[in-house]
């Protein structure tokens, strides 16, 4: 029997059917799980960009037009895992299919609503990348904890105070003794009272004698000339003593005056030394308002703090080379090629209490050089429940050197009520009501912030209380405030902005605290004052007699000088001439 060999076809047509069935099953399976796959993928990738866990409640997709809808997006704050830095209520986006086939994600229209910042989480989110800088809020809290003021003790003040009163007394005492010795020595050269009286008697004898002839008169004149020379010598001695005594009196007088004023000067210096010992006095505004201003800044700097780090991370994805199915995706985009990720237009609707504000975004990407345009954003709002005018606009671009951006804002008529500034046991302060205006600008160059603005609080009503007596002074001063202008300076890295706050409040509260400190120190100062006064008065009382004696010496010297000068010299010459003339008339006229 002839055996026929049938050559089988190279094709296995039932295999084609099996392939089609496998293909259909794969597609059906993918479609069924597409939403879950998208959810997992986005949670993972957004989590990497955010640096902490991202949760998405629900993901839905539609084919025509190709798009996505996300609800309940929560981005954990890496610095505070029990808090979401941003919560997005709902987000919808349409995808450009043509660009998607080319591997580029271009979202034509993104609308996100119900955005809230700094919302609490139900459970702590996982953190993948810790923020590099410490929270500024923590620093400010620490500053407040250190807000301890101390008065130096009396002993401390006395040790630092080089008292002038005892020194002045010692100096005066020493000088007094020296002057007394000096005067005692000078007094030796003075003509005695007896000597002067003797002079007076001699002059009297000469002037009252009866001269019968010119020869007797001539002898009297010669005798008087001799006396005159002695008068001159004695007068010179009296004048010299008078000068020394006057100088001594002036010196002692000046030293006594110094002793009298020294206690007052010492007391003034004691007051100066008895100041509040705190370095924090110049930073009261930052301590009290810093945390709140930082919270407000989160709204102003939202674009920088939230979006820029994500874009920066998306541009800096590290390739993983040696793991299965990972490897490296190489880009061959020409310089003029469209960016691989682009949101052409987005509207984000932020919620502040019951008020919403829409922020309009253009060209969100991490490849601004390829796009040739920066990411721009603009928010406007007028006459809402919360504010009268809101203008915020700016632009942002990632460059080879970092992030370049600038932003201006102007907010007017924000009504704040019952806003807690500090709630510690030692100090509590609340803004009961105020009207806030703010304007300013911030720029980013090479990822470094610079700029600042003003925060004006008008119609201010504050409530404050404190346990510490010094903090209580601050609390009382705060309650008296009706308006306050705060200047803010922003600097530091984009992800960790540093705020410097200053206002007139620093000076006002500083002087109030110093005044209160002096009241507190008054008892101690009273003691110092009484002690110094007693020392000065004691010395002056004891030395008064000595000083009066010096003054008496001066008076006595003046008296002697006058007696020598005027009585003796002037009268003698006149009398001698008159008598001589009378005698001569007698001889010549025949009396």
């Amino acid at each position: 029997m002839e055996q026929r060999t049938v050559r089988r076809s190279a094709f296995r047509w039932q295999g084609l059917l099996a392939f089609i069935i496998i293909l259909v099953l794969l597609v059906a399976f993918s479609l069924l799980l597409l939403n879950s796959i998208l959810k997992w993928t986005m949670e993972y990738n957004l989590g990497q960009l955010n640096g902490a866990e991202v949760n998405i409640a629900e993901v839905d997709h539609h084919w025509s037009p190709l798009g996505l809808e996300l609800t309940g997006v929560e981005l954990t704050d890496p610095a505070a895992p029990m808090q979401n830095r941003v919560v997005v209520g709902r987000l919808s986006a349409t995808v450009n299919v043509e660009q998607l086939l080319l591997g580029r994600i271009h979202l034509e229209e993104v609308v996100s609503t119900g955005i809230r910042v700094a919302q609490p989480r139900r459970s702590a989110g996982e953190v993948y990348q810790l923020p590099s800088a410490d929270s500024v809020a923590n620093e400010l809290r620490q500053q407040f904890a250190n807000f301890e003021l101390n008065l130096p003790s009396t002993d401390e003040v006395m040790s630092r105070l080089q008292l002038q009163t005892p020194a002045a007394i010692a100096k005066a005492r020493e000088q007094l003794e020296a002057q007394q010795t000096k005067l005692a020595e000078a007094k030796q050269a003075l003509p005695t009272e007896e000597k002067i009286k003797s002079y007076e008697q001699q002059v009297k004898a000469i002037t009252e004698a009866d001269y019968s002839n010119p020869a007797a008169l001539a002898r009297a004149q010669q005798e008087f000339e001799k006396l005159k020379q002695q008068f001159e010598q004695d007068r010179a001695a009296v004048l010299a003593f008078k000068e020394v005594a006057s100088e001594s009196a002036d010196t002692i007088k000046a030293l006594f005056a110094e002793v009298r004023t020294a206690p007052a000067r010492d007391l003034e210096r004691a007051k100066q030394l008895m100041q509040l010992n705190s370095e924090g006095l110049s930073e009261i505004t930052a301590v009290i308002f810093g945390e709140q201003v930082q919270q407000w800044s989160q709204y102003i700097l939202l674009a920088y703090e939230q979006l820029a780090p994500m874009l920066a991370r998306s541009a800096d994805v590290e390739p993983v080379a040696d793991e299965r199915a990972q490897g490296d995706w190489v880009e061959f985009a020409a310089a003029s090629a469209p960016p691989s990720f682009l949101i052409k237009h987005a509207v984000t609707e932020f919620v502040f209490g019951e008020t919403q504000v829409e922020v309009d975004w253009q060209n969100i990407t991490h490849q601004h050089a390829q796009l040739g345009q920066p990411t721009t954003f603009r928010a406007r709002g007028e006459n809402s429940n919360l504010w009268r005018v809101l203008n915020l606009n700016g632009e942002l671009a990632l460059t080879a050197d970092g992030v370049d951006a600038r932003q201006q804002w102007q907010v007017q008529g924000i009504q704040l009520q019952h806003l807690a500034l500090a709630e510690s046991q030692q100090f509590a302060a609340t803004i009961l009501s105020t009207l806030l205006d703010s304007e300013g600008s911030v720029a980013l160059r090479d990822s470094q912030l610079s700029g600042g603005g003003t925060v004006r609080l008008a119609d201010l009503a504050m409530q404050a209380s404190a346990e510490n007596k010094w903090a209580n002074v601050v609390a009382q001063a705060l309650q008296k405030l009706t308006h306050l202008d705060i200047q803010t300076d922003v600097s530091g890295a984009m992800t960790a902005p540093v705020f410097a706050l200053h206002s007139d409040l620093d000076r006002q509260l500083g002087s109030a605290l110093q005044s209160a400190a002096l009241d507190q120190a008054e008892t101690q100062l009273q003691g110092i004052r009484a002690d110094l006064q007693a020392q000065a008065n004691g010395f002056l009382g004891d030395s008064e007699q000595d000083f009066n004696e010096i003054l008496a010496l001066v008076t006595d010297a003046e008296n002697r000088e006058q007696r020598l000068q005027s009585l003796l010299k002037a009268k003698l010459e006149a009398q001698l001439e008159d008598k001589l003339k009378d005698k001569l008339k007698g001889f010549l006229g025949g009396g």
Binding site: A10, I22, A321, A325
Partner: protein, 169 residues
């Protein structure tokens, strides 16, 4: 797995062509070494199903080379990175990168590119070696092998019962 092995021995001892087995090994090797979720693997699957290559050999080869791929990935990445970075080829890659079809192929992925090149280079070698081994086995080893006491014992085993229960393709 026992069933798969039994089927393989059945095919080895059947009238299935040696080239059909060799091609099955090659296709399984490409699919095993390259990343699974790639468009080219759909093409491999279509060829394996549509043409009369031995499916058992294909599946076995895929399983074995998938395990080997974990060791080969660093080499694949290095080859792919070098090729994609080659200056002379940049215009080609850039042009392909602008095409939706090529982007779907994911040629710009280093491990995909490297493993494809590696498997393409190894494919003819594996095909020839496989054909040679299957042919030699059938010519010289099969009868001697079947008479071994060990094989006789094996014939009484559970694996052989599965093997005997199978119908040839």
């Amino acid at each position: 797995m026992l069933t798969l092995l039994a089927r393989f021995f059945k095919a080895l001892n059947s009238e299935t062509g040696a080239w059909a087995l060799a091609f099955a090994f090659v296709l399984g090797m490409i699919m095993g070494i390259t990343p699974l979720w790639r468009v080219h693997n759909l093409l491999i699957l279509l060829v394996a199903l549509l043409f009369r290559v031995n499916l058992t050999g294909f599946l076995l080869s895929w399983a074995v080379f998938s395990a080997i791929a974990y060791l080969v990935d660093p080499i694949s990445h290095a080859i792919g990175a070098a090729v994609l970075a080659a200056e002379a080829w940049q215009p080609v890659w850039t042009a392909m990168y602008q095409s939706a079809v090529w982007r779907v192929v994911q040629f710009h992925h280093t491990i995909t590119m490297g493993s494809l090149i590696l498997s393409a280079l190894f494919a003819p070698i594996l095909a020839v070696i496989s054909y040679f081994i299957v042919s030699r086995y059938r010519q010289h080893i099969q009868r001697w092998f079947m008479q071994l006491k060990l094989v006789q014992m094996f014939k009484a085993s559970r694996l052989f019962q599965i093997y005997a229960g199978l119908k040839g393709e």
